[in-house]
Subunit: 214 residues, 2 copies
DNA sequence: AAAATAATTTAGACAAGTCTAAATTATTAA
DNA sequence: TTAATAATTTAGACTTGTCTAAATTATTTT
């Protein structure tokens, strides 16, 4: 039905779509998939032919409901496999993403269904991202970006937006993993920083830029 | 390193190699992979270039030690995934093979290692086939083909050689699964048949031809 | 409103893997 | 041992996904 490559394109387009409803630009897809713009144009035409995206020459693409459903089914598999790798096989949270990139393309709805049941129908993956349900519905929590918090107080780290191993390792070394409780004790409007305390350790400074990734 | 296609060729050549040390013929590989002889010749040249097989024009191939190691590592993954699918995800033994054909190509030795540990270091897969160890060593039991048994008596079904869903379903309906105890109560030299009793049921007739698949 | 710059698409090529049809080599039969 | 048959390889073509370089269209700058 859909090839591994098509699935990766649709996933990238979907991710670039969420948050803003503008068209996704060729260059953005190329950047996201580390491929050339020429290749993206070629693939976009194929996906358009299959009614997975709406394509307007020189103006990027919009993903269709059909394409979105495919993307969400791959994302569902990806996140379920990440839970499996971490909970069942005891991988660390910075190691699961690359493996899930391969496992997500094993094409069996029955497998996904049974994996889901075995894992106890998890709602979030190890990075705090919600796992879409069978119908492609995403039940998002009231998660908020650290950079958007305006009140001091206690918070729970529910997830991260940057999935790179180096960043995840950095956070873990600081003692910050999903579920961690931390307090914002000081916010500085001028130098774009906040001071936070977590897990009985000494106060630490976080730049707003970093905070955006929460 | 090796592509999925190369891995499938090496697996097929390995399987066709075991039992006799003649060269594996182009047509045998083509038959096994449901592909044309022309395609096999092309791929054989590539594998020969990579020193995975020794190729003599018009006379088939012999798998090298290097090629055999790759094949055994894929077969190890395949059988471990089959155990996982059956033991952990509760698939039936006739459903696991096709899924394992996809999962076996997920390329991570660490994943294989952890899966092995999680499953409790199984030595045989759901069809009774031995799981090669990390070094590519195959610890075969003293299994013997049903067609080669000459004495009446009690036996344990340790595995099957035909993995097709239809055959596996047929056996299960008869009450025969790995671990089943059965007795050979009569052997007929002339019409190539034997009468066996299993699991408290009435005697059943098995043709020698069928017996060969055990 | 042109000119300069940036983004996108097209043209043409390549690698992997596949196919059919034709040519070649091996095997079997006469 | 030659002729017929069977198996294998080569030739040439096709698909998917990719690339670079050139042409086209959009956007910014002046
Ligand atoms: Mn991930
Ligand atoms: Mn994740
Ligand atoms: Mn199998
Ligand atoms: Mn098996």
């Amino acid at each position: 039905m859909t090839t591994t490559t098509e699935e990766n394109y649709l996933k990238a387009i979907y991710h670039l779509s969420t948050g803003n409803q503008d068209s996704v630009l060729t260059s953005a897809i190329a950047g996201s998939l580390s491929t050339s713009s020429a290749s993206v144009t070629d693939m976009i035409k194929k996906l358009s032919e299959k009614n997975m995206v709406e394509y307007e020459r020189y103006h990027g693409v919009k993903i269709t409901r059909k394409g979105e459903k495919v993307a969400l089914s791959i994302i569902r598999r990806h996140r379920l496999w990440e839970v499996f790798l971490m909970d069942t096989l005891k991988f660390k949270w910075d190691e699961v993403h690359d493996l899930a990139e391969e496992l997500e393309h094993v094409s069996s709805d029955e497998l996904t269904k049974r994996l889901d049941a075995f894992l106890g129908f998890p709602k979030f993956d190890p990075h705090g991202d919600p796992i879409p349900d069978t119908n492609g519905k995403v039940h998002s929590n009231g998660q908020v970006l650290l950079s958007e918090i305006t009140k001091k107080g206690k918070y729970i780290l529910s997830g991260v937006n940057d999935h790179s191993p180096s960043f995840l390792q950095y956070l873990e070394k600081k003692g910050l993993i999903p579920g961690s409780i931390f307090s914002i004790v000081e916010m500085d409007e001028f130098d774009n920083s906040m001071q936070i305390i977590f897990s009985n350790k000494s106060p630490s400074l976080l730049a707003k830029k970093l905070a955006k990734t929460f």
